[in-house]
């Protein structure tokens, strides 16, 4: 867990002066930051700071009232979540959002959705080729299952799995999309130490082996300082710190926010 990948590469995603409110609640105010290709970028901050809202803006669930988001050099407006997915953005959720009625395998298969070509009518007309395609994707999914070491629960309906494993399946579903940018919302929340270590290892491996850019929200400071290349700090919707882990750790505003926020 000590190895670090420092990639001073080009900017993959640029957020400029975005603001987002829900009625009177200002979830994000005038925040700018960027995510560089190949890095592990952490977003931290006390509860209600606007971290999840930020991810929701990036993958198109929310549309900020002000500001712009530029992804891969393209400015986008009012992007829908499935369009974000089509451009290579995958994510997991703070409160595990799996398809509870389906097995682990089927859940991860849904992650292949955009990679599968045959549509409604073609799969009716050319049943055979649709089934062949299904098998190819199945192979890819099996690789992910091996990678995440969840072979034993392949056919288990996910609703019955313990929380830690559900989070792992959710990561698998996001990976199945072969994302360029992977957004992880508190991937280690509610896990025990051993599960956290596994999850850290997976995140680092994904970043290392596939070069996937990762943006994660995490409350465990130890983990954040350990695995991330750069850290952005939000408090009450505003940005109060941004930089290398060491810089952020010694930033007085950040220390105050955390002490004041009861952490």
């Amino acid at each position: 867990m000590t190895e670090q990948t420092v990639n001073p590469g080009e900017v993959l995603l640029e957020v400029e002066d975005i603001s987002l409110s829900f009625g009177a609640v200002r979830a994000i105010s005038d925040v700018s930051f960027d995510i560089k290709k190949g890095e592990i970028r952490a977003i931290i901050g006390p509860n209600g700071a606007g971290k999840t809202s930020m991810l929701n803006c990036i993958n198109g669930f929310y549309h900020p009232q002000q500001g712009t988001i530029t992804y891969k050099g393209q400015k986008r407006s009012q992007m829908k979540p499935y369009e974000a997915a089509a451009q290579g953005i995958a994510r997991t959720f703070q409160n595990v959002a799996l398809f509870r009625g389906m097995t682990t395998l089927d859940n991860i298969m849904t992650g292949r959705n955009l990679k599968m070509k045959s549509g409604l009518f073609s799969s009716m007309l050319w049943w055979g080729s649709a089934q062949k395609e299904e098998l190819e994707h199945r192979r890819y999914v099996e690789d992910i299952i091996d990678f995440l070491e969840i072979e034993a629960i392949r056919k288990t309906p996910v609703g019955r799995l313990p929380y830690g494993l559900q989070k792992r399946v959710e990561l698998g579903r996001a990976l199945a999309a072969e994302p360029e940018l992977l957004l992880l919302d508190e991937p280690m929340a509610g896990m025990n130490l051993e599960e956290k270590e596994d999850m850290c290892r997976f995140i680092l491996d994904v970043n290392d082996e596939f070069g996937t850019t990762i943006c994660l929200i995490e409350h465990d400071m130890g983990v954040v300082m350990d695995i991330s290349d750069r850290v952005m700090v939000l408090d009450y919707g505003g940005k109060i710190g941004d930089g290398l882990p060491e810089e952020v750790r010694s930033n007085q505003k950040v220390i105050d926010a955390y002490l004041g926020g009861g952490h």
Binding site: A97, L98, F99, G101, M102, T110, S123, R173
Partner: protein
């Protein structure tokens, strides 16, 4: 012996009628599963589909297969319109609001259908066999048999569709979690159009069967009310539930009519289904195969 044969005959006829109830119920289940909306308009869609089929056939004077294909097109267009002008505008609203919207769709379809295709009873004849035949002393109505087999085939096709295809998986995904489904690149709009289309096609098939039996008339849309007890019995989210529920209601009401009806002065067929469903609800509120109904309704 004769009594027994008669019993079998009644039972069989009940089951086959039940298969038709199942078809109607199936349309409800599909939409409820995918969007959490109780589609009040399912009956109206069935009537509209049958009216369109007959109307197109009369107007263009074409073979019924051509009219069928055109009607399929009409049902796809209808699904698109419902998404575009009704549901799409009401994303994230309370289920009760969506339910009200489908009541609106019902009145629109009933009115619109009659405006274009007229309001008199129409005969729907696509050459389905009529009359009964005799199997070892048991008389089976041919039309009912065809209807039963069609319902069975449709269920098998839907099961394969849901379990073996990408879109089927996407449909189940949307039924389970909207946000997660969108995050893997599933477009809710597209899925809703697909479910409403499939529900429309199921309505079309049901409409053809009922229309061949009773003629295409306004009361067809009331048959949808018979699907309510079927849904209570089978659960609102279960396809097997819709099938089994339909069969139980169909067989139950025929048997009750014949064997209990006289004791209580007849006409039991009209309310037996509801009573059966109510009694059943007391013991199993989620239905035979239903899941989490308390959470959703």
């Amino acid at each position: 012996m004769l009594d027994f044969l008669f019993f079998v005959e009644v039972l069989l006829s009940g089951l086959l009628t039940g298969a038709l109830y199942s078809l109607v119920a199936l349309g409800f289940v599909l939409i409820f599963k995918a969007s959490g909306v109780f589609n009040f308009a399912q009956g109206a869609m069935m009537l509209f589909a049958a009216l369109s089929l007959v109307g197109v056939q009369e107007m263009l004077g074409v073979h019924w297969t051509i009219a069928f294909i055109i009607t399929v097109g009409i049902m796809i267009a209808l699904a698109w319109c419902v998404e575009k002008f009704v549901l799409g505008k009401l994303v994230n609203q309370e289920p009760i609001i969506l339910f009200m919207a489908t009541i609106g769709v019902t009145f629109f379809l009933d009115g619109f259908g009659q405006t274009i295709w007229g309001s008199d009873i129409k005969i729907l004849d696509i050459g389905l066999p009529n009359g009964a035949f005799d199997v070892g002393g048991v008389f089976i109505d041919q039309l009912e048999l065809v209807a039963g087999l069609t319902a069975g085939a449709l269920v098998i096709i839907l099961a394969i569709f849901f379990n073996k295809t990408k879109i089927g998986r996407a449909l189940r995904a949307v039924a389970d979690d909207h946000q997660a489904a969108m995050s893997v690149g599933i477009s809710l709009r597209y899925i809703w159009i697909v479910v409403w289309t499939v529900a429309g096609l199921v309505g079309l098939v049901a409409g053809i069967m009922w229309g061949s039996k009773l003629g295409v008339q306004f009361s067809l849309s009331l048959i949808a009310l018979k699907a309510l007890p079927v849904l209570m019995l089978g659960g609102f989210t279960s396809i097997p539930g819709a099938i089994v529920g339909g069969l139980i209601i169909g067989a139950g009401e025929k048997l009750a009519e014949i064997y209990v009806g006289d004791l209580v002065g007849g006409a039991i067929e009209n309310w037996f289904a509801y009573m059966l469903a109510m009694v059943f609800l007391l013991f199993r509120p989620q239905g035979l195969f239903g899941e989490k109904i308390i959470e959703r309704v």
